[in-house]
Structure formats: structure tokens, C-alpha cells
Symmetry: C3
Subunit: 669 residues, 3 copies
């Protein structure tokens, strides 16, 4: 029977190999003392498991697990394939990934391997099997983590000879072994004489003179994603073979779309991600002003979005379940990898932890137990300082552990949200391959729509494109550039209010313009034709006609649309130059351009209102989320906010006037 | 007898190979119906002409020409050498060009060849001969286009082994086979021990530690340009051999100076260029404000400049003629390759077409007939949508065709302009090789001077440096960094008012400072010495003394000059710090710094006034151009402009109060 | 007996090989006539010394020296190893350095060699020996210059095979031949399985997937620096062997920290540097406003800082002496290598020259005698124009020569300054390897502290970390990220007022966090612990509590600190959020963040006041420096400044109301 966590719990990432064995027991005791119940270990230690080729030694790992077990801790064991040792690289140097310049990406840090390398796949299988065999019966073992952060440091795409060989095989599998003409047709290779006579003529999109055929590129992106899936599946196979009841997890990242996480999740029992709010804010915050406002707190929606995204990943293997997911690495203090690395304001480590749990996390595990005084991550805070003194993160984790006891939540309480946001990785790739306008980022678009719903106090589920939409009352489709038959059917079957962004279904899965023009596969439910698009430089905008409260402009992008013949679609908003801005076909709506945050939020509010949803007029920086009957409010701002009129039950935690960086938890009757 | 176009006509670029053969006849009929008379085809279809090595098939091309011919259309056939098929690249992988990092520029898009590769030159000759042989007697054939957009995607310069070998041969040809000492002397290789003992020691300027000898680089640029000339000449040779009376054209680009277009034009009967006003505006518009103002219309001077430039190219082979030139590709809607790609405002496709004709274009050919729903250019609009529906471009082209009938112009009406702007490609290279100040771009400088004349309502001819200047009353020399003997003689013989920019004749053709200091070869007519130059960072400027209306500053660049002994030159303007700012020697003037747009325009106006030219005080965004007795006004702005007081004849088209994005045509008595 | 210069003198860099031999005598006479006494020659002429392999010819060099000698000039002869000829590169192509992409850095300019290449070291030794043998007895010979500007064009670091081999040897030497475990331990290679089994497994940090182990990188930086030291030492060895009494000098650069100049200086008798105030301003000026204000004058502190830095280098070989140093190349007019290259305002060449002498320069040598009309440096002004006419630089040099006679200074008058600024190259590398905040540049931090002292009118000595601090009353430590035992001891022994910047001693020399947390080695005298740091994006700041006049914020960086148990340290300033901002332990002070220029200057003033130093409230743009009893004031601004109340002795030069770009010299009684 698969290991399960009944009540939201805390964990920590620990590297016994970095510290004297004599210290382990104290560490374990201290972990348990502050309320930690789970420990992840072992994922970077190949050179210790196998210091010389073939000389395996898992003794120290087992001893470490013994110590942790003795303290009552459960252990997640990571496979070490993210850090193959130097002797292995020297044995087969072509296992290294190759970058966009054709150069090897060398040993000296981590993730120095190409997913397509047959030899490395075999070596990975070997070490995973050996590890599983060594550890499988240990009573502390509660889960496996495969590898670590697939794709970190831009490692999904490799232009290696292995990738070239596998790509050709993959294409032959997709288009048919003797059907290179099918590939030529699908890609439109008649254009620019790009026709191939055999799969052996097809190359990786490495340093072409100018942009490669987008269909070629999209297939390469799909292939590259698939290589991750296969690499992970091999590990899962051997892990399940050894321990059928130990759940398998992988720690995904934030702001990362280079492979299809839904696909990879099909082999996982639990999804998890590594949540570094401040590091990510520096990378992706939408404006300088917002980045400064939230520099010490993190973006109010970024974490929540990923919580919901990875809860969706946790459902892939078990669609009927609630979506098992963890935060495998939670930022406990400043990190080191952003352009600037501020310190979290007091209270944020606590807030982030609770917020993950509010979104359904079974486990929030801090990274790391103790700050490492050597190597690359010296500036990455831990729960404890390098000399062992507890740091602020430790104190906040201790507080969370106590509060969790008081809240007494059950993981299974999480409910389906009223709003679905449909998401799809290949659509992001499609938008990246042909952006058409430099500042229209698909992932940011998705985040902006998510933010709009969340500012209205709505719980949101992320739903993979193609999955059923039963039970949702509002469906948001911010960036679904391609639409599978399943996805079109799910949308058609849903009776929710639906809002589609521009570019929806603008490309076929082969990366062509649909025969009937965009939105192709959507036209059966939204009967319009997109005849022309234009992208708009910063500073250019297309004003809409004032209708009621909404004064808005299209920025970045607008589309020129017409109704299909005899179509039951009405242009319910127009641009000032007389073109449709918003189409309505029954409960479905198609937006013909990109809106700024405020009018977008107003539009989503209109849709939610039409769907009969209750919304909240939340103060700036405040967000809310329910966990069963428990409602959380999180104040990401640094000023107090009076939330009295939102309190509809018993206050479990905090007070109605919620201080800056503080939170409020209410339980409904 | 060479094919000629008597009356300005419309054309279109068409790819029969992209569409079912059954559709061709309808397409042709529709083209003819909207007023199109010429069709360019065939230039990217090598893989269809020769699907397997040696298996030639021009049948489909001939059938397509039959269909077009049947509809009364003339056909321009393009040679397919811009897109060699994959099997050819596989046969000789070293035919690929090599980039500045030493890496091959691979197959997968287009222009994947090195101009210096002997094998590829032979293969190009072979396919061109075969094509010419197959097509030469077809009655629809009216012109050949060689290759496509030489240099697109930065493909002029290649660091291949072929280029290295040819460069050495080229140098030996230039400096003498046993005279490496001549090269050493010309380049000043005594500096930094760069002396060579033989041509075999000379390398390409690939990844030197710091900047390479500028003379070395200039010779490499000249060589690289020459390789294009030779590559094109080979095709022209075989085409003329097959069809002596079919004119040969190449479609040049805008904003492109990587090879000497005058040199290449010596082998062409007609010059043409590909005019994408919105795409270019995004690339090169001078200020953010201007880019926003004209985002939907294009820069008011950019197209006109290139029209005049390529009219000059059309004169190279036939200097006594008016300069035959076409627009081979005219933007018909949004494109896909700029950072942002807005939609042309209604009316612009029409305006651009007329403007080209006003500048003497015989043919304006739209790119492309129908938007391709696959491959790289999916977001490039055509006259028709991918599903065949006519798009706005089609409607505007139809209107132009009707208006052209009404205007009834003869191509031969075009007259010499009163103003000559002398231009030279090697001078641009010289300025790029040693910019000395990062923000002083030679090509932009030329455009700024052109704009100044054009804002004054003056017609301008671009004149290659060294060509006679007879008949011009004002000669502008904005960026002639090197001056050949011919050029110096032409300037000396001209009795026009002349205005020279700073840096004129500042380098010898060998890239040295002239023995007598700059402006070296110009000193016989402008007897001054430039003793020192300084480049100025943005924000720094050198104020001039107020003289009359002109309050101005030097920006970017200023020169410290003195008169030559006993010189008849007068400093008629000074800087506030007491240095000469403008020299006058009879009718010749030398400007000692760079002026902003307004004072530059005022200065050009002074010069034009001195030359006795009539000028117009055109409203913002309005430009004018004469075509024989026909005068056009183009309103690039979006606001109406009252042009009543400029109307000096019969209004043929439009009204004196010209709407935004509209035009006015007047015929003088 | 080593050649010495008694009175500050002027020199010039001269390239007889660039000019006809017939011109040499006139040049020499003209040099002498304007007051020049020293000439540097020969450093780029290998291809003339050895036009064919093994065919040596120093005849022309000796003839040039004869001519200079005849005019009474002393000659500094440069070894030509910065410009190996092409035939040598062709003999051993692997002598080229390799860049960070793994590509060779090719012939065609200069510095095309790898410091680690054994063959090139041998060839360098050979040409140096031959040159020394040829020239050693020439009566004009007064000094040797080794090579030219080590590291110019980023040439210190090379990823060549030679470097790889030598790096392994270097590591084995450092950690012990059979002690790879010592390296693994020092670097913390247990992290991410980076452990090596032998030195042969250690690679250069070339294109790792993400950041390499910082200890690895620091060792590579140390190694790369060491290779320069060795390369230079070989030349020094052979030069001293030939001419024991001829001093050896190398011309260092400004704003350059890629190798440890103190180490290299251990083999030099005299340090020198190449001072290009305007070129450097464009590169490193702190703000746009300052860059514009001083565009024609240079930063008021940049030159002085380097004068003081290289005076310190001149003391390394002879610690008891005053520090012999020269300006080997002094900017005489505009240069060519900055992004923009303005002309020095009139008077600046004179001012820069005097300022160098005020800081103790024995010799200021202009680069170059005559502007070269060919090759890379055509836009680099000389004292004379290419046609031989004297340029402004020549006139100002002439004036300086006359003024020097009047001032009659003795080089030995230079005195120890009251303020020491402790500097260390490896600390700069440490800050570059792990910046933690993108905008916190170590070298700029040092310059900012130097500027603060200098704005207060204080003379400053730069002191290498670890050197004694006897006699100093104020010690500034702006960027000492690592602290050797010697350095800690010197600080402990000093009874000066001391001010330490954040990050002081934050890393061990192995690049680890100290066991007792930062400031590790400093804790014996500043008993605090840095528990956490945060870096701050532009726009973020941490306000300090107002205390007296000082209203300040931390920018870029702040530290969270606590006192050590029982420590005698007091937090004498706090941040508004309640953390210590400034610690005091007796006369030692530790600052917990980065201050803007004004509050930093105020803080240094407090420290200087505590140390009992007299300060001056200098007007904006004015700086002062003493040379024995002679006090100079330099007005870098363009406005007059009344310095009357600073005049405490006889005015030797200038007037108390000092014009813009002018200077004032006063001699104390």
C-alpha cells in the first residue's frame, strides 16, 4: 500500500555526506524537535555511492537512514543521476549534452548529461537499481525522488549526436518509417526546398542560417520533452520493480516549461516543486515597481500558480484523486542564484509554507537543513547557519509545525475549484517558436490570467488541455495555441462560462494555420475567423470603445476577426477603429487582444459574475485560498489590512486586522 | 530586344508549388482580374526541380507558366540558388558558410551556402543552365531573377576554408603575386609585427585577440562583396547565353550595405528591391517616438531613399538611361520578421505602391499572392488569406491598378533630380570598421541627409561615388569616408553647391590617414586640414555660435580643423569654444560635426537656396516627388493636411485637403 | 648601480620602425627641444628583429638608439613578446590562447599567446636574450620594459591544452602530489559529486553546465595570475643576467585586476602604468551624469588611485624604498578604444602629467610621439600629427617640462601618507566569482572608498594586504574578502583607526565560509558574526536610523550581524528595522552595508577625525596631493574655484583662484 501523508507535514533536505557522521544524531534529534517529520537525502552523492567504477558503497546512506529513523523521521531517497561522477564522464565523454553552439557542456557543476545518451541511460538504470536494492527494505524509506530538477540550467535541449540519432528515430516513429513524405507534408518542406528524402537527412535545428521551419522546431521540442519522460520512466520502472509501494516523486521547478510536466507526471505518484519566491520574483516579476514592492515577500501569485499547476500534475497518474503534491524545496532565507538575493521579510517563510498547504500540499520540505560553507551554494541559507546555530527559517518552521497541529487539517479535504484554467506545454513552445511580437510571453500571459482570477478571491484549478472540465463554472483559456481533438471536445462539452485569449487554436498541432483560419478547432463553438493579427511595440496600443466601466486598450497583440457565415456570434465590444474586440457565442467569449492587468481583471470578473460565482474585493497584496472548509488569507504586503468583512467563520489563526506579511485562517461552520 | 515595361505595372510573387495544380488557373484568373500583369515564380524550388541528384524536372514549372500565360500574365523566373537541397549539402558539407565563431551555418532554412565555394558555384551554374534551357522559349518569360536577396540573414561574410583560399588569391591579384611587401606596406603591417612573408600567411579576420588591422578588414569586406559579384555574374553569364534579350534582375534588400550593390548591378539589366516599410521601421527608425508615430505607416523617407538608391543601381549597366528598377516584393500586410509586426493602416499598401511608381518603378510586385499556412512565413500576409479569401492588400492593389490606368504614366517620363546625394558602399564599411564613436552610424547619417532634402520637397538622385555630377545644382556628400580619384574629379568638375559631412575623405582607399591629413583628396577643392576628431557620448554636445536662425549643437562627432596655408576657405560658422564649424570655399562647404535633424535641414535649405532651388514647407509627415510633370504628395501621418497652396496644376487623384494615410496627385500644365 | 631618475622627467613612446630612418634625427632633436629626456622603443617589433625564423637583425634598433643617444635621450627598450610574428604562430599554432568558448584567439592584432605555452615561453626567452645581448652595452639604454600591458584585451585567462596541463601541475604543487583528497576537501567536492580521483581528472572551468565550484574557479584565477608572474620572471631573469644594473619595468594598465600585480611586481624594479583618463572614464565612470561632467577631463580620482596603487607595486621588490613608479603611457589627446572618444579639454594633458608627478612618478611618458596614419591606432592622437605638425599634446608637454624645471622637485621627497587603503587582488576575484548581487563590484567599491578619502583632502597609500601598517593613522579596508594570517596580524598590530567594509574576511582563502562565520579571521579584533547577507536590487534600500548629521541608506548589500559572546563590540548605528549598521570595537569599525558616496564620505570623515587627521572641505571637482612639502591642487571641473583659504605657503604655480582644468602648486615653509 502506497505511503500516504494524512496531515500536512514538514520536511527538510539534508546532506549527511557533508557533515561528520558524529553529528548526524544531533541533527536528527533537532529536526524532530522542531516538528520536522520527513527528510530528503542522497540525491547528489553518486561519487560517494561509487567512488571507483563498480565499487558500490551504500553503507553510509543506510547508516544515515538508521539515524534518522531512530529519531522518528521518514526518509525520501533521491537517485543521484543529476550528478554523474567525473570517472563516468571520462569513460564516455559523449554523454555530455551539447549546447546551441555545438559545444559540450562540461563536468564541474551538475546536470552534465544528455537525456538521449544510451550509455548514460544504462548507467542511470544501473545505479538506480543498485540503490533501490540497497535501500528498499529500510523502514525509514517513504518515497523516492528521481534525479533532481530535470531541466535546471537549461538542460532539456541537447544538440548531441545521440540526440540527433534519437530524433530521427522519433520522427520515423511519428510519421511512419517509409513515409518521409508525410513529414515533408506536415512540415510544409516544399517551402524553401527543405524537403528530405529520408529521415537520415533530417538534422537537429543547430545553427541554421535563420529560423528553422517551426514545425521542425516544434517536433524537436516535443522530442526533447519526450526524452525526459523516457529517462524518468526508466528510473521509475526499476524503482517500482524494487518497491511497488513506495511512491515516486520528482521535484519540478518554477517558471519552467521546457518539457511537458503532465507527460512526465504520468510516471509519478506525487508531483513536487521547488519553491523559491524571492529568486523567482527577481527573474520574472512583471514590472520594476512590483519587483521592488515584493522584493522581500515574493510575488503574491507566483507560488500559488505553481501549487495549483503541480497539484494538476499530481492528478495525471490518478485522475480521480485530488492530486498529490509536495513542496520539495522551500526557500528558508536568501538564495544565491538570482541577480539580487534579498532576505525574506520576517514571517514569509511561515506564510509561504502555510500557503502551499492551503493549496493542498501534503508536505513542505525546506531546503536545506544547514547552510553549506563550501562549494556553489554557500550563499544559500538553510534552516541553520553553517556553524549549526538555528537561523530565522528554523524558528519560523517551528512555529508552522505548532500551528499545523492546531489547525489539524486533513490532506483529503482539498476540493475542486470553481474555476479551471486550461494549460498546455506545447502551446508555450508554439508561442516561443513564433512569438510574432517580442513582448508577448505565453507563460506570463497565463500567469496574468491566473492573477486576475486570484485577485477576485477565486480558487483556481489548473487543468491540462484535453482533460474533462466537468464541474467547473468558469473556464479560462489564456494561451492554448494548439487544441487537440480531446481539448476541443472537453470545451464543447463544458457548460461553463468560457473565456478564450487571442491566439487560441491559432495553429494546428503540426504548426500550421488551420484550413479554416484560426481559431480552427474552436470554430464549432466560437464561430469566428481571425483574418489578421498584429503585434504592438511597447508604447503602441489600440483603444477599445468605452462600454460601461471598462476603459481598456489592447496592448502587445490584436486580431482582426469576422464572424463565420451564419454564425451565432456577437461582437459585444469593439475597438475604437471599429473592429470586434470581444466575441460572445452563448456562454463562450473570445477576446481579440491583450489587456492590461486591470481591465483583464474586470473582464474576468464579468465572466465570473455571469457564471454566478462569489467574488471578493481583496485589498492590495492580499490573497485567499480555501482548503476544505478552511479559508486562508495571506497578506503579501508590508502594511496591515482589515479583513473583518471577509471573516465568515471562526478565526483559527491570526486576527481580522492582518499585519503586513501575516496571515489569517478562518474555518467555515 | 530586351523586354521593357512601358507603363508602371503591378506584379505578384507566386508559389505554384505550394498549392494544388488544380488551383493554378483560378489563381491566374484572379490575378489578372485585379489588374496584375506580372508574376514572379520559381526561386525557392530547387528540391522540386531536382528531387534526386541529377533527376531534373521542370515540367511543373512549365505547366505553371502555361497557366499564367493563358491568363495573359508575364512571368519572371527566379533561379533557385538561395535554397540548395539537403542532398546537395550532404554531398559537399563544406559548401556551408562559416560564421564569426568558426561554426558552419547549417541547412534548415535558406541561404545556406558560402559564396566562395567552388563546388557550389559549379552546381549553381548547372542548375541555372538547366533551368534556362528548359524555360528559355516559353512565351510568358519576361525576366530572370538571380537567386534571392543576396546577403539576407547576414550571409555575405563567411569564414570558410573556401573563403580563406579565395581571399589569398584575391589579395595576390590586388597587390601582385610576388609582392607581399606591397600588402604589408598598404596595410601598415609594421605596426604590431603583423607583417606577412607570403599570402599563405594571411588569414581571415576570424576571432583575433582584439580588432584586426582595419586595412585587412576593409580588404576582407571588399573581397566578400566581390564574391557576391562573381557569384551573380556566373548566373548572368549563363542566363544571357540562353536568352540574350531577357532582362536580368536581382531583388536587393533595404537597409543593407554588406556588399557593393553598384558592383553587382553592373551585371543586371534592372535593379529591384524588396520593400517592407513596417518591418524596416521597427529595425531602424531613429527614435522611439518616430517608431510609434509611424508604426502603422512606415518611415516617410525610408522607402523613397531606397527607391532612389536602386534607381541608381539600375543605371550602372546603362548609365545613359533613366535607371530601370522594380519593387520585386512589396509588403501587402503585416510581416513576421521584425521585433513587432503591426498591420499597415488602411491605405498604406496603396500609398507605398504609388510612391514607388512616383520614384520611377516600372513594376511593383506584391509579396505574396496567398499567405502560406505552413513553414517559416506563416505570419507573413499575402494579397489573399491562406484560405483564398482576398485580404486588404488585394483590395488596395485592385484600386491601384485602376488608378494607374487613370494616371496613364510612361516609365520614361522620369527626370534627373536637381539634388545629388553621393553614396558609396566601401565608405559605410570604413565607418563600421573604425566607428570611433559608437553611435555614429554611416547609413543612418546618409538617411538623415536624404530626409533633410526630402523634407524641403526636393527630388533627390543617389549617385555612386565617382559617377559624373553634371546637371546637379546641389550635391550632398553625407558619408564619403574614402574618395577615389574619379570621385574627387567629379566633385571638382561640378559647379553645384556642395555640402560635405565630417569624415569626408578622412581615409585613403587603403584605410590610412591621408598624408596631408583629412580631407585628403578633397583638399584641392576644400583646402582645410582636420587635425583632430572627437566622438561624443549621448548627452554631450558642442554648441555652435548663434548665427541668424540656426541655433545648433554638434552631437556624436566634431572635428578640429585649420585652413591650409594660403587657402581660400572661410570658416562661416564657429563653435562656442571658437573652432570652425562650417567652412566655405566658393560653393563648397564642409561641416565639422554632426547636426540634429532640424538644424541639418536648415543647413541643407541654406545650401538649396544658394543653389537657387525651389523648396516647399511641407507639413509634418507629408512628402512629395515628381514623375515627369506629375507631382505626388504622400501623407504618412494619420491626420488630414491642407496642401492647397502646393497645388499648381490639375488634381488627378485625391483632394487638396489630403486625409491621413492618403495621397494627392497633380499634373503640371 | 641601478639607473635612477633624480628629478621628475618626461618621456615619450616612439616607433622608429614606423618612419623613414632619415626622419629619426629630426624626431630626436625635436623631442629634446621640447624637454623630453626618455624614450621607450622597440616593444612591438619582433617581425623586424627576426623577419625570418632565426635571422636576427637588431641593427636598425641600435641605429635608432644611436640617434636618440646623440640627442641626449635615454632609452627604455621593450621586449617584443606581445607581438609574436606570424611565422612563429604557424610553427606552433597551439601557442594561441583559447577563449571561453574553446576557440583559438588568432593572429591579426596582438597578445596572441597563451602564458602557459612552454614553446612560447622558450621562444620569448630566446628573443629576449638575443635582444639583451645586442643592446646591453648601448650607452642610451636606461631600462627594460617586459612585454606590453599583460592582460590587455582579456588575455590572462586561457583555456588551452597547455593551461590545462599546467593547471593540474600547479594544483598538485599546491595540494600535494598524492593528495587529491586534500583538493577535494578544500574545494568541498563532496557537494554535487564533484570529487576527483586524481589531478588528471581536474579540468579547466570551461563551459560547465552552470557555475563551477567557486574554489575551483579561485584556484584557476590564482593559477592564471601565477602564469603571468612566471612568464614575466623568465624575461626578468635573462634581462638581469645580461644587465644587472638596468632596471626592469612593466607597463600595467588601469582598471585591471585579472592578475596579482603585487606578485608580478616582485620581479620588477619599477612599476609603471598606462594612463588614459578619458578612455577609462567612458568605461567605468560611476554615473551617466559624472561621465558627462568629466567627459573632457577624466574622473578626478581614477588616475590618482592608480598612481597610488602602482606606487605600492613599485615597493614590492624594495619594501623599504618609496616605491619607484612611472607613467609609461600618458594620454596626449583623444584615443580610439573607448565607446566614445572625446578630446581632452585644453590643459588636461598638463594637469594629468603634474598629477602623476605629485603622486611620486619619476617619469611621465606620452604615448606616442607621432600619430600613426595606418593600422589599428589611427585615431589615437600623439604629441604630433601624422604629418609631423605638433599637436596640442606637444605644446602642453613643453609647458610641463618648463614648469618642472621651475618646481625643481626631487623624486625622493615623496612621503608616507597618513591613510592606508588595504588592497588585495584575490579578494576582487572572490567577489567576481560569487558576486551574490549583480551590481556590487569590488573594484568600484575600492575606488569609492578611495574617492571618499580624497574628497576630504587626504593623501592615501595603497597597501597590499599583509604588508605592515606601521605609521598609518587611518586604515580603510573596502574589499578584503579574504584575509591571510599576515593581513590579520598587520591589522591587529596597527593602532590606527580602522574601517572595514561589509564582506571583509567573509571567505577563507579556500573560498569557504569561515568556521566561526564571517568576518572569520577578523573576529579577534572585531568580535561579531555575520549571520546573513542580502543583496539589493537597484531601487531597494535599507534606511538607517538618523544619528546626527548622517542620514543614510544601505544600498546593494546589507548584513545581519550579532556580537560574539562576551564581545567588546558596540553597535553604534542601527538600521531602521533594528539591526546593527556600524560596529565599533575600540578604534575598529565594521560597516554592515554599502553606503552611497555622500554618507560614505561623511563616515570616512568621522573616522579621520577620530584619527586626528586634518581634512579639507574641497570644492567640487578639486583634489589635492602633497609631494614632500609641495602641495598640488587640481581642478578637474571646468569652472574657476577659489582656493585661497587652502593656500598655506608660497604659490609656485597657478593662482589661488584656480581656473577650470587648471592647477595650483604651493610649497609649505
Amino acid at each position: 500500500m502506497t505511503y500516504r501523508i494524512q496531515h500536512p507535514s514538514l520536511g527538510v533536505c539534508y546532506y549527511p555526506e557533508h557533515w561528520p557522521e558524529s553529528q548526524w544524531a544531533d541533527d536528527a534529534a533537532q529536526m524532530a524537535a522542531i516538528g520536522i517529520t520527513h527528510v530528503r537525502i542522497g540525491e547528489f552523492a553518486w561519487s560517494l555511492y561509487e567512488p571507483e567504477p563498480g565499487q558500490l558503497d551504500f553503507g553510509w546512506l543506510l547508516r544515515a537512514m538508521d539515524v534518522l529513523h531512530a529519531a522518528g523521521l521518514k526518509v525520501i531517497v533521491g537517485t543521484p543521476t543529476a550528478t554523474p561522477p567525473k570517472w563516468l564522464v571520462n569513460q564516455m565523454p559523449d554523454m555530455l549534452a551539447v549546447d546551441e553552439n555545438g559545444d559540450a557542456r562540461n563536468f564541474g557543476s551538475r546536470r552534465h548529461y544528455c537525456f538521449s545518451h544510451t550509455g548514460y541511460r544504462a548507467e542511470s538504470a544501473r545505479i538506480v537499481q543498485a540503490m533501490a536494492e540497497a535501500v528498499k527494505d529500510h523502514p525509514a524509506l517513504c518515497a523516492w525522488q528521481t534525479d533532481n530538477e530535470y531541466g535546471c540550467h537549461d538542460t532539456i535541449i541537447s544538440y548531441s549526436d545521440s540526440a540527433r540519432r534519437d530524433f530521427r528515430i522519433w520522427l520515423a516513429g511519428k510519421y511512419g518509417h517509409n513515409k518521409i513524405s508525410a513529414l515533408n507534408e506536415a512540415w510544409g518542406n516544399v517551402f524553401w526546398s527543405m524537403e528530405y528524402r529520408s529521415y537520415d537527412e533530417v538534422d537537429l535545428p543547430l545553427q541554421p542560417v535563420t529560423e528553422i521551419n517551426p514545425s521542425h522546431m516544434l517536433d524537436f521540442r516535443r522530442f526533447s520533452s519526450d526524452q525526459v519522460r523516457v529517462f524518468n520512466a526508466i528510473q521509475c520502472h526499476f524503482l517500482r520493480e524494487a518497491t511497488p509501494d513506495v511512491p515516486i516523486v520528482h521535484n519540478f521547478m518554477g517558471w519552467f516549461t521546457e518539457f511537458d510536466h503532465f507527460d512526465v507526471s504520468a510516471d509519478l505518484d506525487i508531483a513536487s516543486w521547488d519553491s523559491y519566491p524571492l529568486g523567482f520574483l527577481e527573474r520574472v516579476g512583471p514590472t520594476e515597481e512590483r519587483r521592488n514592492t515584493y522584493a522581500h515577500a515574493g510575488d503574491p501569485d507566483f507560488q500559488a500558480f505553481h501549487h495549483d499547476l503541480y497539484r494538476a500534475c499530481g492528478k495525471v497518474r490518478a485522475p480521480e484523486a485530488r492530486g498529490r503534491w509536495w513542496v520539495m524545496e522551500q526557500q528558508p532565507g536568501p538564495v544565491y542564484w538570482a541577480r539580487w538575493n534579498p532576505s525574506p521579510a520576517p514571517g514569509l517563510v511561515r506564510l509561504w509554507t502555510h500557503e502551499a498547504i492551503a493549496h493542498g500540499a501534503e508536505l513542505v520540505s525546506y531546503f536545506r537543513w544547514r547552510q553549506a560553507p563550501f562549494a556553489q551554494e554557500q550563499y544559500h541559507a538553510g534552516l541553520n547557519l553553517p556553524d549549526g546555530t538555528p537561523d530565522d527559517g528554523s524558528r519560523e518552521a517551528t512555529q508552522v509545525a505548532q500551528e499545523l497541529k492546531a489547525l489539524d487539517l486533513t490532506c483529503d479535504d482539498v476540493r475542486q475549484a470553481p474555476v479551471a484554467l486550461v494549460f498546455d506545454y506545447p502551446s508555450v513552445w508554439t508561442g516561443q517558436i513564433q512569438p510574432q511580437g517580442e513582448t508577448y510571453d505565453m507563460f506570463l500571459a497565463v500567469l496574468r490570467w491566473y492573477r486576475a482570477a486570484r485577485r477576485l478571491g477565486l480558487d483556481v484549478d489548473i487543468v491540462p488541455s484535453g482533460a474533462p472540465l466537468d464541474g467547473y463554472r468558469l473556464v479560462l483559456v489564456p494561451a492554448l495555441l494548439t487544441l487537440s481533438d480531446d481539448a476541443a471536445a472537453a470545451l464543447a462539452q463544458s457548460d461553463a462560462v468560457q473565456l478564450f485569449a487571442p491566439r487560441t487554436a491559432s495553429k494546428t498541432p503540426d504548426f500550421r494555420i488551420p484550413d479554416t483560419l484560426p481559431p480552427g478547432a474552436l470554430q464549432s463553438i466560437v464561430p469566428i475567423r481571425v483574418e489578421r493579427v498584429e503585434s504592438l511595440r511597447p508604447g503602441l496600443s489600440i483603444p477599445l470603445e468605452r462600454t460601461g466601466a471598462m476603459q481598456a486598450d489592447f496592448i502587445k497583440w490584436r486580431e482582426f476577426t469576422t464572424p463565420m457565415e451564419g454564425a451565432a456570434a456577437e461582437a459585444i465590444r469593439l475597438t475604437q477603429d471599429g473592429h470586434p474586440a470581444l466575441w460572445q457565442a452563448a456562454k463562450r467569449h473570445y477576446l481579440c487582444g491583450v489587456l492590461e492587468e486591470e481591465p483583464l481583471t474586470a473582464l474576468v470578473a464579468e465572466m465570473a459574475d455571469m457564471a454566478g460565482l462569489d467574488m471578493m474585493n481583496l485589498p492590495d497584496g492580499v490573497r485567499t485560498r480555501t482548503h476544505g472548509k478552511t479559508r486562508y488569507f495571506f497578506n503579501y504586503g508590508d502594511q496591515p489590512r482589515d479583513l473583518t468583512h471577509f471573516v465568515t467563520g471562526d478565526v483559527l489563526l491570526g486576527s481580522a486586522v492582518t499585519m503586513g506579511h501575516d496571515m489569517l485562517v478562518v474555518r467555515e461552520a
